[in-house]
Every structure is written in C-alpha cells, then in structure tokens.
Amino acid sequence: MASCRQVDIWMQAYLDNELRHADKLVFEQHVANCNPCARQLNQHKQASALLYESLREKRLYMDFTSQVLGHLPEMDLTQTLATETTWRTKNPHRLTQLFFQWLPVFVPILLLVFGLALYYAWPNDEFHSEHVVGMVLQADGPAHWSREMDLMRRDVRLEQWINQADRFETGATSQLLLALAGPTQVAMDQASRIKIDDARRITVESGRIWLDVGPEDRYFQVITPSARIIVFGTRFEVAVDLQETVITVASGEVQVENEHSFAVLREGDRARVTLQNSMERDSVSRPERIARWAQEIQANPDAEAVFAATLPPRNGVVVNAEQVFVVDKRDHRIRAIRLRWEPTMQDAENPGEGYHLYIADDRMEPVYKHHLPGTLFRQAGNHSIEVDLPDNKILQNARILHIKLIPEDIQRKTDLTFSEIAVIGY
C-alpha cells in the first residue's frame, strides 16, 4: 500500500500516463480507498484539463516539413573543414570530452589529495635506535604527542616509537599505555601530560600516571613540579595537580624528595608533596587497590611483541648505585661527618659528578639531606671531605644514623667508592 505522500508524487505521472503498470495499479487502489487523495486527484485533473484546454489553442497542427525542405539553405561546411584536423573532432567520445572539460578542476584536487596523503603518511617517528626509548603499547581514545622544538601536535598511534624528549598528552576520554626500555610500563590516565626525558627519567607535568618499573642497574626517576622521585623496581602511582604531587606505592621502595626533605615510601605508603615544600605522609588501607584504573588498560599483544623484540629487557645484574653506611654515634653531639673515598684512575679527568647525601635516623625517618657538588670531589686532594651538619634536636637525639649517598646523575653507575664515613664531634 502506497503512502499518501507517494501517491501525491505519482499524481502527475499518472495523469500523464507515464506511470509503470504496477505503480498505476497501486495508485488506483490507494485513491479508491483514500478520500483526501481522491479529492487531490480530482483537483489535479481539473488543473491539468484547464492547462490542456488553454494551451491547445496555440498548438501546432500543421506540418511545415515541406516548407522547410522547400527553402533549405546550403550547409556551412567551412566549420567542418576548419575543425576536422583538431584532436577533439578525431576523438568525439563524450567521456574524453568530459575528461578534458574537467581537467582544470580535478588536477588540482588530485594534487591536493596526493599532497595531503603524503603529508600524513610521511614517517615522522622513524626508528633511530640511539633515540628510541620505548613504544606505545595501547592508545585508548584520541591522544596527542609532540616532539621537543616542534609545536605540532600529532595523534598518537599504536606501536608508535617513543623518542627521547617526546611529550605525550591524553584528553578527557583517552588513556595511554607506554613501554620504556628497561622495561618500564607507564600508564597515563585521562587529562595527563608527561615528557619522556629518556628511558629512565620522565617528567610528569600534570595528571595521574601509574608506573611499573622493572629492576635494572640504573635508577628510574620521576620529576614533578613539586617533587623528585627515585625508584628501583617498583610499582607506584603519581598524581600531579597545580598544588601538589601525591605518590602512592603499591610495591617496592620509592624515595621521594623535595627541596628540603625526603622520605622513603614502601608498600601502602602515600606522600603528599606540595609546592610550598611541605610533605605529609600517611598510608592507604588496601595497597592492592591502588590505581585500579591502570590495570584495566591492556597492552596490545602485537605491540608488546614488537617492543620486546626491539628493546629486550636488560637482564644485567642489578647494581645498586646507592651506598649506605650505618654509624652508631651513641649520645655524642656531632657537628660534621667525614667522607673518605678510594682514589680512582680517572681522578684527573673526573668530570666532577656530584652526590646527594641523605641521613635518616634509627627508624629511617629523614633527618637531613645535602647536595655535594662534583667540584668538591675533584679538588679534594686527600680523598676526603667534611660535611657540616646542623645542630638540631632530631639529629642530636638520634642514636644511629643511616647515611646514604646517591650519585647526582643517577643514570650512571657510581664512579666513586666511599670507603669510610665518620662522625666528628664537638
């Protein structure tokens, strides 16, 4: 059964007897059962009749063939002769003509399309082994990346190589899973921005990330606006906003520090480091529930396989770059500590690697931190230096001091071996 709308469309063709037989039957059946359409048809019929009636008067009834033929002019053959030799008259095919007619239009369009295709397909993340530090294992939703010194933001693709100094940014609906050589997995939650400084160092500019750092002979460090985080093999979450950085540890050990203090966090610990250099610590009740969001991002198996084949896990011996000494000072008041180290072959050309000195008390609570610039070690002829300590209550009350030394450039292995640490009293 046709609709009234269809019947209305068919009406003119029906009256002009230009409807297919089957449609005509449907039309007639509809009109027989539909009063409004029947009225329309009647009206249409009358309008048509009026048109025929009025225009018929002007109709041509005579045949003027003989009149035309009686006075036929000569054919103008000059045109044919003139155009006969052109390429077009030799190829009168309609398609060919159309082709040339539209040539000025579609050639630029074609060029544009080619240009765009080339532009987008141009390999912009070529594999340069010396710069490649990782790969995108999963891209869930539209995320962007950019290269340093290059303002253009590109879409992140699965299996994309990550180079040093690449920046990644997720939007309100996207999450990313990155793998760095080591291996380290970095999961980025929505609205996060990070910079991959290299395989063992990332900067979290904003948002929330989850790190699963594989054990390796180098430290892994995470830099945020308010804190520096140094880790070995461990899993933890870092959330950064305008005011503070919150670090929650799921397993392993993480050292968090800011300008003035430091803390060592273990499973279930949480630290809140603000830009005003305050550090608060507490713990979460169920460490296994930390960063559930990150567990839901599954790596693409193909990407994982390519990554593992290209940047295999380092299975070297885990060499701890930190050197820890325990000093029992009893109840003495101390004013300084003396560090002595073994002379090395490279003393002369020692680039002057500095060290960070961390002192914690019996309960491993932080007491003091200090930075020892590299020049100190180069200038000191007798391979020892003294570091003055503040005369504060916590320090003086502590009975046992845990003294830890971590090289400044923690990606390098230790180049000095400290042989002796002594406390100096008043």
Partner: protein, 198 residues
C-alpha cells in the same frame, strides 16, 4: 516499425540526403514550435521562428559534434534563433501590443453570466500567468507537455535533461499549478470540493 535514430538521420543529411532532414523536421517540429512559442511567440511569430530554427540547424549541421544528441542541440539552436528573432522584431512588437479585449456584452449575456468568449480569454490569461510564476527551468517542459502533449521521453530528449528529472519537474510544476489554478476552477463553479488539508 523500427525508427531510424537521430544519429543515422544526421549522418544521412551530412551525406546530402535532404529527405532524412525531412524526417527530423517531422519528428521535432512540435517541440521546436512549442519552444519558439515559449520564447518568442506570445504575440505571433512562433511558426516563423520554428522554420528559421530548422534552416539554421541545417546550415550548421556539420558543426554538430555528437549527432546522437541532435535533439538537445536543436533546442539550443531554436532558443538562439528565437532570441535573434526577438531582437529584430522587438521594436515592431511593442508598437503592435494588442489592446485589451473588447467584448460586446448583450443584456441577454449579462443575465446568463460571463460569455464563453470572455471565459476562454480570461482563463488563458490566468493559465499564462500561472506558468510564468513557475521557476524558469520548469516552464519549457510544461509547455512541451501541455501544448504539444509530448511524452516524458520526448521532452527529455529535447531538453537534454534525464527522464527522471523531467518526471520530477512536471510533478513539482503540476503541484504548483494545481494550487494556483484551484481558485480559478472554483470560480468557474464546476468544482464543489475544497483543497484537502494535510
């Protein structure tokens, strides 16, 4: 009966066979005449224009690049001829603009209502006005259909538009004309119905 195609006839003409042109004239004179009428013939001259158009087409037949599209090419020639004809005759036509109909009305006629003659003239006027309100593109197909009763196929061949386009054009034009002419029909008193409300 198998009709010779336009292409065959054109090729025969080009070989000097004037009878073949006679067949083409017979085939298209109605359309050419209606076109001439539409462009130039309101005040007479449609026949002259039509004949001139056929002569002009014959003269430039060698210039026709696609003989199978003779019909739509002929339409172009006709419109050009009509335009030239109008340019030549426009000053004279202005001078000859007919006076309004003068109709003698007797007392008897008045008693019976408007005369048949008046009705026809007025109706024709109305229909012309209605057609003039249609979009430009609709007008020639409407004239070809209602004046010469050409089939959709013939109209499409002549105007160069597809048959489906012609079907659509006539359907839309028909709908517009129906509403424009509905009032006229009603005043004629032979329609007791009203427009259906949708």
């Amino acid at each position: 009966m198998h009709l010779e195609t336009d292409k065959d006839l054109v090729l025969r003409c080009l070989d000097g066979d004037t009878d073949a042109y006679g067949v083409l004239v017979g085939r298209y004179q109605a359309a050419v005449y209606a076109t001439a009428y539409y462009y130039a013939g309101r005040v007479g001259g449609a026949e002259d224009v039509a004949q001139e158009a056929f002569w002009a087409a014959y003269r430039s037949l060698p210039r026709l690049r696609e003989p199978e599209r003779f019909a739509s090419w002929l339409k172009e020639v006709t419109t050009r001829t009509a335009a030239n004809w109008l340019r030549r005759n426009a000053p004279r036509m202005r001078a000859e603009t007919p006076l309004p109909h003068r109709i003698q009305v007797s007392i008897e006629d008045l008693r019976q209502g408007p005369t048949k003659q008046l009705e026809t003239a007025e109706r024709y006027e109305q229909v012309q006005l209605a057609i003039d309100t249609l979009p430009e593109r609709y007008r020639l197909p409407v004239i070809l259909r209602y004046m010469q009763e050409l089939s959709y196929e013939e109209i499409s061949l002549f105007t160069g538009e597809s048959k489906e386009e012609i079907r659509g054009i006539l359907q839309r034009a028909g709908r517009q004309l129906r509403s424009l002419l509905a009032d006229l029909n009603e005043t004629q008193g032979d329609a007791q119905w009203h427009r259906a409300d949708k």
